[in-house]
Symmetry: C2
Subunit: 363 residues, 2 copies
C-alpha cells in the first residue's frame, strides 16, 4: 500500500499527514524534521509505550542527539495540569532547549497533552503527532486543538498549536481494542453528514470492512476523513466560523461524558449517540426530513455505537450543555444537519432540546 | 497632559497602548473593548488591588454584564502553575465563556500570569493589560510574552499572546515604592544603548527628573520606550530574530536572580547589573570602546541601580546562564553592544564571560 500524503495548508504553519503501513521504521517518515543538535522527547502511556516506544525511540536516535521517553499515566482522568507537569519536568531536567521536538505517541489524550506542552514550553517548541488510535488519526491529526481538562470542564485549558508533521502508521490499529476501533468510527462517520455526502455513501458500503479491520478500507477512511477535516479547518484555524460544524454530536456527547463521569462511555461512543440526538433535533426543527435522520441513526447502530441516550435527568443534561464552549453568553447552540453533507450552528430553545432528549433516552 | 497613543501594528492582532493621567476613570479608555453580554475578570494582587481594584471594577461594571475580581498572592515566587489555577477556578466557577475579557491590574507578575491564563482559557480569550509599575509599563506592555515559572527555570512555561489594549495610567506611579521605580528605570535605560542613541542622551539629561517622578518626563520615557520596543517586536513577533536584542543584560541578570534566589534583587536591579556586565563584555571583545561601556555603567549607577555583580561563584554563574532560553544546543550566547544604539547576539567562549564576571564582582 503506497503512503498517502495529506497536506494541511496553513501558510508558515503548513504540515503533512503521512498515512501508511510500516512508517515507524521508515527513515523518510522523519525527513527534514530533525535538528541534529537537538533533543527529542517521546511522550506515551504504558499501554501504547510498551508496544511501540522502543521502535520509535530507536528510529529517532538515528537523527537526534538526545532522545528520551516519558510515560504518562493512562486515560482521560489524567489529562490534567498535574500530568502536564510531568512533561515539563522531563524537559527541564534534561536541560532541553528550544531546539527540542516532542513526539506524541498514543491516542487523543497523549496528543492533546503533548501538543499543549509543546505550545507552552519556552513559549513554543515543535511537536509531531504519532497517533495510534483510529479516533486520534482522524480527529486530532488535523486542527491543532490541544488542551487539558479542569475539574469544572473538559478541554477548558489549551491552545491552538499546529504539529510539524503527523505520522499515521496504520499497523498500530492491529493492536487497538475493538471497542476503541468502533469509537473511532464515530468520528469517521461524522465527516459524511456534515460535509461530504459521497463519503457518507462510501461509509455505508464499507462499514463492515472497516469493522473487520480491512487495511485498505481503513487507509481510505483515514485519508478521506483527514481531507474533509482539512478543508473545514483551513481558513478557520482559530474556530471562529465554519469549523464549528466539526462539533456535530459533541454538545450532546460532552454532556453524556460528564453526566456519566469521564470514561464510562468512550468519547467516540458519546459522540455517536450525540450525533443521533443532533440528527433527531435537526428533524424536529424541520431542517432535514426524518428519513434522513433515521439513515444516520441506522449507520451509527451498524457501527456498534450507542443510539439511545443514557439515563441522565433532563435538567442536568441541559445544564451540562450550557457550560459547553460553544454556548456563548448563555444561548443554547447546536451544530445541526440541514441537508445531505451539510451542517451549521443553530440557536435552539432549551425546551425543544429537552423534548428530543426525552424521546431518545433509556427507560 | 494629553493621552499618548502608541499603536502596535501586528495585523489582525494590532492594539493600542494608551498612556496618560486619569485613564482609569475615563470611559474612552474602554471604548470598543466590551461585549455588553460578556464577563470581565480583573486579576490583581493585594497591594495594587487594595488601592485601585474598586475603581477599575466600577468602571467596567458600566460596560460588562458581570465583573469579578480575583486577588492572587503577591510576588514572583507565586508566579507558578498553582497560582495560575486560581484564575481558571475563578473563570470556571462563574461559568465564564469565550466572550470573557481578562484585565491584568498590577506589575509584570500579574501581567504575565493573566496573559498566559487568557492565552489558555478555552484556547484563548481577550485580555487587557493595566500595568501599574514602571517596569511593566515599558516592558510587558509590548511584545505579548506571557509565562509562569517552573521550579527548574524562570518563564519556562508560557505563550506569545497579544493583549487587546494596554492602559497605562501614570497616576499609578504615585504609589510605587522608590526601589521599584528605580528597577523600572533599568528597562527604560536599556532601550537607549540597544536601539536609540538619541534616547540614551535624553535619559542622561532627564534621569534626575524621572527619579523625582516628574510626570511629563515619565510620560515621555514610557511613550518612547514603548515605541522603541514596538519597532523591534513588530516583524519578529515570535522572537526568531532581531527581537533578541531586548534581552540585553538579561542573560547575566537571570543568573543573578536565580543565583541569589528570586526576590533578593528585583528583576530590574539584576538587569541593571547585567547591562553593566554585558557592556564590559562588549568592550572586552572590542565591539565598543571602554569609554562607551563606562558611560553606560555611569548612567546605571546614577539611576541608583547596582553595577557590581553579587558574590555568586563563577562556575555557578556560568552554569545558570547555560540554561537560559537564549542558549541553543549548548553554545553561550549574549546580546552585546556593538555601537551607539546598536546591539546583536554573539557567541562567546565561557572563559571570557567568566573573566568579565570576575573583574566586576564584589570581594
Amino acid at each position: 500500500m503506497p503512503t498517502q500524503v495529506v497536506p494541511i495548508e496553513l501558510g508558515d504553519r503548513r504540515y503533512d499527514i503521512l498515512i501508511g503501513s510500516g512508517l515507524f521504521d521508515c527513515p523518510t517518515s522523519y525527513e527534514q524534521l530533525a535538528n541534529s543538535a537537538g533533543h527529542a522527547l517521546v511522550v506515551s502511556n504504558p499501554t501504547v509505550g510498551s508496544i511501540y516506544a522502543d521502535r520509535l525511540v530507536s528510529a529517532l536516535r538515528q537523527i537526534y542527539l538526545d532522545v528520551r521517553l516519558v510515560v504518562l499515566p493512562d486515560g482521560e482522568s489524567h489529562k490534567n495540569a498535574e500530568t502536564l507537569g510531568l512533561i515539563f519536568d522531563a524537559l527541564l531536567s534534561s536541560k532541553s532547549d528550544r531546539a527540542t521536538t516532542l513526539f506524541a505517541l498514543g491516542g487523543g489524550v497523549i496528543g492533546d497533552m503533548t501538543g499543549f506542552a509543546a505550545a507552552c514550553y519556552m513559549r513554543g517548541v515543535p511537536y509531531v503527532q504519532v497517533p495510534t488510535t483510529l479516533l486520534a488519526q482522524v480527529d486530532s491529526s488535523v486542527g491543532g486543538k490541544t488542551a487539558i481538562n479542569h475539574p469544572l470542564g473538559k478541554n477548558m485549558i489549551g491552545a491552538f498549536y499546529q504539529p510539524r508533521r503527523v505520522i499515521v502508521d496504520l499497523d498500530t490499529l492491529d493492536t487497538l481494542p475493538q471497542r476503541e476501533l468502533v469509537a473511532g468510527l464515530a468520528e469517521v462517520i461524522k465527516y459524511g453528514p456534515i460535509a461530504d455526502a459521497a463519503f457518507l455513501a462510501w461509509i455505508e458500503e464499507n462499514i463492515d470492512s472497516m469493522l473487520a479491520r480491512d487495511k485498505s478500507a481503513l487507509a481510505y477512511a483515514v485519508t478521506r476523513s483527514c481531507r474533509v477535516k482539512a478543508s473545514v479547518v483551513v481558513g478557520d484555524e482559530r474556530e471562529a466560523g465554519r469549523r464549528v460544524i466539526l462539533n456535530y454530536g459533541h454538545t450532546f456527547g460532552h454532556a453524556i461524558e460528564v453526566g456519566l463521569g469521564y470514561g464510562t462511555w468512550l468519547h467516540g461512543e458519546a459522540v455517536g449517540c450525540g450525533m443521533v440526538l443532533a440528527a433527531a433535533l435537526s428533524a424536529r426543527l424541520g431542517l432535514v426530513d426524518s428519513a434522513y435522520a433515521d439513515r444516520i441513526t441506522r449507520l451509527i447502530a451498524r457501527a456498534g455505537l450507542p443510539v439511545v441516550a443514557p439515563p441522565i435527568a433532563t435538567d442536568r443534561f441541559i445544564d451540562l450543555m450550557q457550560l459547553d464552549k460553544k454556548s456563548e453568553a448563555g444561548a443554547m447552540r447546536f451544530v445541526l444537519l440541514d441537508g445531505p453533507g451539510s451542517a451549521a450552528l443553530h440557536s435552539v430553545p432549551a425546551e425543544i432540546a429537552a423534548e428530543v432528549i426525552e424521546r431518545n433516552r433509556t427507560g
